[in-house]
């Protein structure tokens, strides 16, 4: 980890790391006696777990002064299913579908990360065609995930219409998934060593059709929001976080990039076939909600570029590497991470040489990014908390695992 931190060079990393480390874990002091002055306005309210804008079952305890947020505390675990513990009692193959249930809006990415981690542990490499299929599906899934994020984020801020536009277009992606592997959401598309399924007839054509279909649609979303005055007022300078703070808190993904840190695992540590494609990493400057929005919009376009290249250059050949029927990786441990739509998704697997992992740990991007919530919303208003929760793009299935 240290080596990587050096890669993201930034001279004030160390200070802010200390700053975060020195902070008390709970910062609300809920039981502290009320201050004699002004306490009449302090209000502690529960946002969630049943709340229309907490994206599932996140519970945020808000300490408010009027409408100003004095502090927040996230209570998570309502969706805890013990995924990591389950892994210890399943074979490597059996565990593969479980990862789809973590970030269920980006199931393909989760599967990719897991399969690659196990492959790395076994020293197997997937064939080139399989890698290309993986890239295509993962990038499609990135678009789908961003579309879902955009719709719900806009809905949180009060714009109803984008939600339906994005869902209309996300449907096309899900149709491709369904045709490819039979499932729309929890796809289980990849296997350890490659892909289970060959592409169906007309796959390339459909993906290309989708590319030409969705590019103007992304413009359409932007038309609704990018220059909308109210949208600007609601997102600009809201939830600002600096790049150094992001790194200190371990925040990755679009949130990090919107703060001006050019860090994308697809470029920094290319996996699958990403080194073969030409694409850019969109970077923001202010680290506010609006920049995160712009970064994600740009990422969707970049994903389109990647998919286009991949579909055009997809090689022929096998889709499965030679892997034994019973997967028994050698004794050892591995950390492999990929750039999921929400940030760095890492799998740390300890193998004791049996068919089941000794320990499997997931580094979910949503969980880590959620830490930045308190930093982002202090001093803002209740309405901004909603906007910031939306902009971090969390999926509670992944946070709670």
């Amino acid at each position: 980890m240290n080596a990587r931190a050096n890669d993201r060079t930034d001279d004030h990393i160390s200070d802010s790391t200390n700053d975060v480390a020195n902070r008390a874990p709970s910062n609300l002091d809920l039981d502290a006696p009320a201050t004699p002055y002004l306490d009449s306005n302090e209000l502690i309210i529960n946002m969630g777990p049943q709340h229309p804008a907490t994206h599932g079952v996140l519970r945020v305890i808000l300490k408010l002064d009027g409408e100003k947020v004095l502090g927040t505390e996230c209570v998570i675990g309502y969706l805890h299913r013990g995924v990591e513990k389950i892994a210890e009692n399943r074979t490597y193959t059996m565990f593969n579908p479980y990862v789809d249930r973590m970030d269920y809006v980006a199931a393909v990415s989760n599967g990719l990360g897991y399969c690659e981690a196990v492959e790395k542990l076994m020293n197997v490499e997937a064939p080139a065609r399989a890698k290309y299929i993986r890239v295509i599906l993962t990038e499609l899934n990135r678009i789908a995930s961003h579309q879902l994020w955009l719709g719900t984020h806009a809905l949180d801020i009060g714009a109803m219409t984008p939600l339906f536009y994005t869902f209309r277009d996300r449907e096309e992606i899900l149709k491709i998934f369904e045709k490819y592997c039979g499932a729309r959401l929890t796809t289980h598309a990849f296997r350890i060593g490659g892909c289970q399924y060959e592409t169906y007839a007309g796959f390339e054509k459909e993906v290309k059709n989708f590319l030409t279909y969705v590019a103007p649609k992304i413009d359409e979303y932007e038309e609704l929001l990018t220059t909308n005055r109210i949208w600007l007022e609601r997102t600009k300078n809201v939830g600002v976080i600096s790049g150094a703070d992001c790194i200190a808190l371990g925040v990755t993904g679009p949130v990090l990039r919107a703060s001006g840190v050019k860090w994308d695992l697809r470029k920094a540590q290319p996996y699958a076939a990403y080194s073969e494609f030409d694409f850019e990493i969109p970077v923001g400057t202010n680290g506010d909600t609006y920049d995160r929005y712009l970064v994600r919009m740009a990422e969707m376009r970049q994903s389109l570029r990647i998919i286009e290249q991949a579909v055009n250059r997809i090689p022929e050949g096998p889709i499965m590497a030679k892997v034994p029927k019973v997967i028994k990786p050698p004794v050892g441990e591995i950390y492999h991470s990929i750039e999921a739509p929400k940030g760095e998704l890492g799998y740390f697997i300890v193998s004791d040489g049996t068919t089941q992992p000794y320990r499997l740990r997931v580094r979910p991007p949503s969980f880590v990014n959620l830490q930045a919530l308190d930093r982002m919303v202090r001093g803002l208003l209740v309405a901004d908390v909603i906007a910031v929760i939306g902009t971090i793009d969390i999926v509670l299935g992944e946070v709670d695992r």
Binding site: L43, I45, H51, P52, A53, E67, A154, L155, D156, I157, G158, A159, M160, T161, L163, F164, Y165, R168, L224, L225, N228, I230, W231, E233, R234, L381, V382, A383, D384, I386
Partner: protein, 436 residues
């Protein structure tokens, strides 16, 4: 017929029943307006869901009745049958009375709305003052509802809406004052506060106030149009019930009939403020160009509009019937829609007959009762049409814009709208002095 019924009908000049002192007809008008507004709210409910759905590439209600036409009725029945929950910790009496306050305030306004020169319950000397005052009582219902629920989100919603509505009332009132100033730009130099007086002033001056002293009237109108969205707690100013922030704001704890009363009040208030805007700036009941195209032929052509509108609606219904699947599953729906279209067509025919029968044969001949009836329909038609445009705007706003943030909203109210409306008021006064 008893005298108290006929004396009002026989009176020569067009006056409202309130002004004529006819309690009987005033009551009839109240009843008609109450029914009309309730039906309009239901229609608005359906229309909003439909229009919003089509903005959002959905179909909206389609199951209950053809194209969901019976959906509002189904909703009303559902809401009435729902369990009426009063939270244990709530203040029972206040919880009970809050929706009534909102509803009363929203409906009391209709007593002075002039649908025509005599198509109003009463013409108060202080009409606009009364309207602003009574519609500002609506905020009491919201505040009290939020407080009585004894819960955090409703309380925040109530605080937000009280601050919001009181602030926007200021800008709204100043915009209205500049319209009041415009009524005094006549020979005698006396203005009016009466709602009917507003339309008459626009008639006399030969210009809708939105175009008067261009662009002053327009600016005042725009300020009013913004403030009225805030006053009715509609998107993008729906802070008080911001769904994604405060779950449902002040009516989070309400359910069933009580909740539907809030909805009824909200929609009634929307229609009411739109009526104010129409009366003050858009010429009220007057048809377009009443002074420019004042020949009897034009009169007749414009009097055909109501019939044409209904013919258009019937045609849309017929298109719907044709396009509907011929599967037997849809037979009842097809029949229902066909009957609905036929009813619309019948109304259109009726209106056509009235328009033809009531056309003024000669300007010198005293108006027959048929032509008076025709005129009444015209007045109400044009008024309702203008209000309908505003209703559509309300839906359009909701489909297009994200929600404002509360502090920004207050800033816009106090630091943008208020100074502009003050400036417009002063400039209007100066221009008025110079012109007269």
């Amino acid at each position: 017929m008893p005298n108290f019924i006929m004396s009002y009908l026989n009176s020569k000049d067009a006056i409202t029943p309130g002004a004529a002192g006819s309690q009987f007809w005033a009551l009839i008008y109240v009843f008609v307006i109450f029914t009309g507004v309730s039906v309009a709210v239901m229609a608005m409910n359906w229309l909003e869901r439909k229009a919003l759905a089509h903005f959002q590439i959905r179909l909206g209600p389609m199951r209950v009745g053809p194209h969901g036409l019976l959906q509002p009725i189904a909703d009303a029945i559902k809401l009435m049958l729902k369990e009426d929950i009063i939270p244990a910790e709530a203040d029972q009496f206040v919880f009970w009375v809050a929706p009534m306050i909102g509803l009363l305030a929203a409906f009391a306004v209709y007593t002075v709305i002039p649908f025509g020169p005599s198509q109003a319950v009463s013409d108060m000397n202080i009409g606009i003052l009364f309207m602003l005052g009574v519609s500002s009582l609506g905020v009491l219902g919201i505040v009290v509802a939020g407080w009585a629920s004894n819960s955090h989100y409703p309380l925040i919603g109530a605080l937000r809406s009280s601050a919001q509505m009181v602030s926007y009332e200021v800008a709204m009132g100043l915009a209205v004052v500049s319209a009041i100033l415009m009524t005094s730009m006549n020979a005698s130099g006396t203005g009016t506060l009466s709602m009917i007086g507003f339309v008459r002033a626009q008639q006399e001056q030969g210009v809708w106030f939105i175009f008067k002293f261009f662009p002053l009237g327009l600016i005042a109108f725009v300020i009013f149009a913004i403030a009225m969205v805030a006053e009715t707690n509609r998107a993008p100013f729906d802070m008080a019930e911001a769904e994604s922030e405060l779950t449902a704001g002040y009516h989070t704890e309400y359910s069933g009939l009580r909740w539907s009363l809030f909805m009824l009040a909200e929609y009634a208030a929307m229609i009411a403020v739109s009526s104010i805007a129409v009366t003050l700036w858009l010429g009220g009941w007057m048809r377009p160009f009443p002074n420019l195209l004042n020949a009897r032929t034009w009169d007749f052509i414009f009097s055909l509009f109501p019939a044409l509108t209904f013919f258009g609606l019937a045609a849309i219904g017929i298109v719907g019937v044709v396009r509907m699947s011929s599967h037997s599953f849809f037979r009842i729906q097809r029949i229902g829609l066909a009957v609905f279209a036929a009813v619309l067509g019948f109304i259109a025919l009726l209106l056509l007959v009235i328009a033809v029968a009531g056309r003024s044969a000669d300007a010198n001949v005293a108006a027959s009762s048929a032509s008076r009836f025709r005129e009444g329909i015209d007045y109400v038609y044009w008024f309702v049409l203008k209000v309908a445009v505003f209703m559509y705007l309300f839906i359009w706003y909701r489909a297009t814009w994200p929600r404002y943030r509360f502090d920004r909203l207050m800033r816009v109210g106090w630091k943008v709208l208020l100074p502009i409306s003050l400036g417009v008021l002063i400039v209007t006064a100066i221009v008025g002095v110079i012109v007269s």
